[in-house]
């Protein structure tokens, strides 16, 4: 029983952290340009330097 007092808050906090991370990524525009993210990896940044 005493374990519950610790485990339930931990479980809830972890879940909340995941939820907060998702909501942040949504509002920060992480999903705005999914196709672009896929091709941007190919940009060679040394090229024009």
């Amino acid at each position: 029983m005493s374990g519950l007092g610790l485990l339930i808050p931990i479980a809830l906090l972890l879940g909340l952290a995941g939820l907060a991370a998702f909501l942040w990524s949504l509002s920060a525009g992480q999903y705005e340009d999914l196709d672009g993210a896929a091709v941007r990896i190919l940009i060679d940044e040394d090229e024009e330097a």
């Binding site: 879940g15 949504l26 340009d33 672009g36 091709v39 941007r40 024009e48």
Partner: protein
């Protein structure tokens, strides 16, 4: 610090961005420009967002992008912004509901497994603390829509959902306070979760449709160079141009307003407005139409109508008006809800009254009524339609058919006759040489040299054909083009010419096929014939549509002589020389007679007809206006996607009906149990998940519907 804070923001449409290299080239090319504070290309929407210091202008940025080799088109002010805010809000609600459902379910499982006494009460209280904010937040889309419907005296799917969820939560809270054994928090929250999945999928489909509409005004010129009274010239946006102004239209530019030619002569491509493929000459005093393309020489045009008064704006208005009928269409899920909601409410009310009469006490009776509401909550119904449609749309997308929203699939299944546009729809809208070119190797090289230098559609067709043959270009001197007549030059001192047959002394005869002549000094001039090819599988498509009970008719704006051979080849009837308004009339008459017309067309002149049809499709080669007016866009050189889409839509309708039957069948089994008071929260949750999974599984069968 304060200086950096004053940044202007502008967005351009970049249709030419195709790869990572383009992104790097544009972004790295813009950054060194003084005053550019940030430039980011969005590859998905083909747009670039630039933050810049006030000393720069959007026009300068546009030129800078053009210097990098890309065409940047301003985002038309009139076009609605592609708005995915609703999907985002639904996604946030979905995330919250998912979090709530998982945690409440975790606590509920312990209660079901036999937690009792203080532990059960603690778990109920924890569930209440998680569930109530979740319901308040994630339930908003349903509450809002239900309230909007009730206020107008109507009912929709969201009314039983809202009542069920609210009552279940309130009653469970009461149970928790009283220390009772049954709390339905898990049911309420997971119900919201399942329903939000369906709602989100539906909204994602609709966003795709809206992204198409944003491009609506792109075909019309964003603006023009205006000659100021003092003799100077300035670029003005299309909405700033007024009648009486004089505008300079360069070769290759679109007219931004209607007007009369004051100076210069040229050829114009009117295909956007009239559907006519052959360019027409335009001389002093002739009328230039907004949206048409200047192919030949620079012109000075006195504006007679601008902005909302232009003929192209009139067509777009006609399209809006024609599309109104379609907004009256009631989605299949809402039609089901109209029958379903009153039945459910009566049932719940009847169980409450029945148990009260039987002397069960109001607490017990209310608990049973809530169990009935939760069991009958259209969870599977809410998923049945969107899941089937998104799976079908995904399958069609793999075949190159983009369905814009779920209601398009429903309407496509109802179509019972097809009306085709000719140019660009039945035909490819692309001229190709009819038969082999009657030219030898040297003539081909010279012809390519001439054709490449001209913007005339026939020259372009010839260029494409010769380049596909890997013909080398001959170096020509003294190239000179006379608009509407032809182009000539010199090859090693010999005159070569490409142009109207009459210009080269050939008799064009009475043929209506587009043709031009090629002449090399010292040789006999040769006649080159062109044809707009019928799509290879057009006949087969029309035969398949007929087998499905859809008869096809061609509605064309073209001349009788041009349409007749096509209609004969396909064995269909055709109506010819139709104006955009005539096409709308033809469709409206059919619809008034109770028919459901599938309109397939591509041009701006088809826009109103596409909007008027019960449902409409356009090839991907269509104008932006055509694409945005259509419910579905198909890629490729074939016409077969039309038949495939109709077949897939009918299969989707069949699966949706099966899903309804499954959901209702499950209710017939579970409702008697609920009325008898045998449904505990655990049974409710299990039954709900099982029926949702069943519906999902059935919908997944549609993955192969486009074969």
């Amino acid at each position: 610090m304060s200086e950096a804070a004053v940044s202007e923001h502008v967005e351009f449409v970049l249709p030419g961005v195709k790869c990572a290299g383009c992104i790097a080239k544009i972004e790295n090319g813009l950054r060194p420009i003084k005053g550019v504070r940030g430039a980011r290309v969005n590859f998905t929407t083909k747009r670039i967002a630039i933050d810049y210091a006030p000393e720069l202008t959007p026009d300068a940025l546009r030129r800078a992008i053009a210097a990098l080799g890309f065409d940047a088109q301003p985002v038309a002010a009139a076009a609605p912004v592609a708005d995915d805010r609703e999907s985002k809000a639904l996604l946030r609600a979905l995330a919250v509901a998912g979090f709530g459902a998982m945690n409440v379910m975790l606590l509920s499982v312990s209660v079901w497994s036999g937690a009792s006494g203080a532990t059960r009460e603690l778990f109920h209280w924890l569930s209440a603390l998680i569930a109530m904010p979740t319901v308040a937040y994630a339930g908003r889309p349903f509450f809002k829509s239900a309230w909007a419907a009730l206020r107008r005296g109507r009912t929709n799917m969201d009314v039983p959902i809202s009542i069920g969820v609210t009552l279940a939560t309130a009653l469970s809270l009461f149970e928790t306070i009283e220390g009772g054994p049954h709390a339905y928090f898990d049911g309420a929250v997971s119900l919201l979760f399942f329903l939000l999945v369906g709602r989100f999928l539906d909204s994602v489909m609709r966003d795709r449709a809206r992204a198409g509409v944003t491009a609506l005004m792109r075909e019309t010129a964003p603006g023009a160079t205006i000659i100021l009274p003092d003799g100077g010239a300035a670029w003005k946006r299309a909405d700033e141009i007024e009648p009486g102004m004089r505008m300079l239209v360069a070769a290759g530019e679109r007219f931004a307003a209607d007007g009369l030619v004051e100076q210069g002569e040229t050829l114009v491509d009117r295909s956007l407005v009239t559907g006519e493929t052959m360019p027409e000459p335009l001389t002093r005093g002739g009328a230039a139409l907004a949206g048409t393309l200047n192919l030949g020489h620079p012109l000075t045009v006195r504006v007679t109508a601008a902005g909302e008064q232009t003929s192209i704006a009139a067509i777009i208005r006609m399209m809006d008006a024609a599309g109104q009928g379609r907004s009256l269409y009631v989605r299949i899920a809402d039609r089901a809800a109209r029958l379903y909601a009153p039945a459910v409410h009566t049932l719940a009310l009847a169980s409450f009254a029945g148990w009260m009469l039987a002397g069960a006490g109001w607490h017990q009776s209310l608990l049973i009524a809530v169990a009935v509401l939760i069991i009958t909550c259209p969870c599977a119904l809410g998923l049945a339609v969107p899941v089937s449609q998104i799976v079908a749309a995904g399958a069609l997308m793999k075949r190159g058919i983009l369905i814009k929203d779920g209601s398009a699939l429903e309407r496509l299944a109802e179509a019972d006759c097809v009306r085709f546009d000719k140019t660009g729809t039945i035909t490819r809208g692309r001229l190709v040489p009819a038969g082999a070119l009657p030219l030898d190797a040297q003539e081909k090289q010279a012809a390519l040299g001439l054709a490449r230098a001209s913007r005339h559609p026939l020259s372009r067709a010839l260029t494409a054909a010769l380049e596909a043959d890997h013909v080398e270009v001959a170096q020509l001197e003294d190239l000179r083009e006379s608009p509407g007549i032809g182009i000539e030059g010199r090859l090693h001192g010999r005159r070569v010419a490409l142009g109207r047959p009459g210009w080269l002394g050939l008799d064009a005869g009475t043929s209506v096929a587009p043709q031009m002549a090629f002449g090399l000094d010292g040789c006999r001039p040769k006649l080159l014939r062109f044809a707009d090819q019928i799509r290879a599988d057009a006949g087969e498509t029309i035969a398949q549509l007929r087998a499905m009970g859809l008869e096809s008719v061609i509605l064309s704006g073209d001349r009788r002589e041009a349409v007749l051979p096509v209609a004969n080849a396909l064995g269909t009837t055709a109506l010819v020389e139709l104006l955009p308004a005539d096409k709308v009339d033809a469709i409206a008459r059919l619809q008034a007679a109770g028919r459901h017309v599938l309109m397939v067309g591509d041009g701006l002149n088809d826009g109103p007809a596409l909007a008027a049809g019960h449902v409409s499709m356009a090839p991907a080669s269509a104008t932006d206006v055509g694409q945005s007016a259509a419910d579905a866009v198909f890629l490729g050189d074939g016409l077969m996607p039309v038949a495939i889409a109709v077949r897939a839509a009918r299969r989707t309708r069949a699966v949706v009906r099966q899903n309804f039957a499954l959901a209702i069948g499950y209710n017939l089994l579970a409702v008697p149990l609920a009325i008898c008071g045998l449904v505990t929260p655990m049974i409710a949750a299990a039954a709900m998940s099982a029926s949702s999974l069943l519906v999902l599984g059935n919908a997944l069968r549609l993955r192969r519907c486009a074969r």
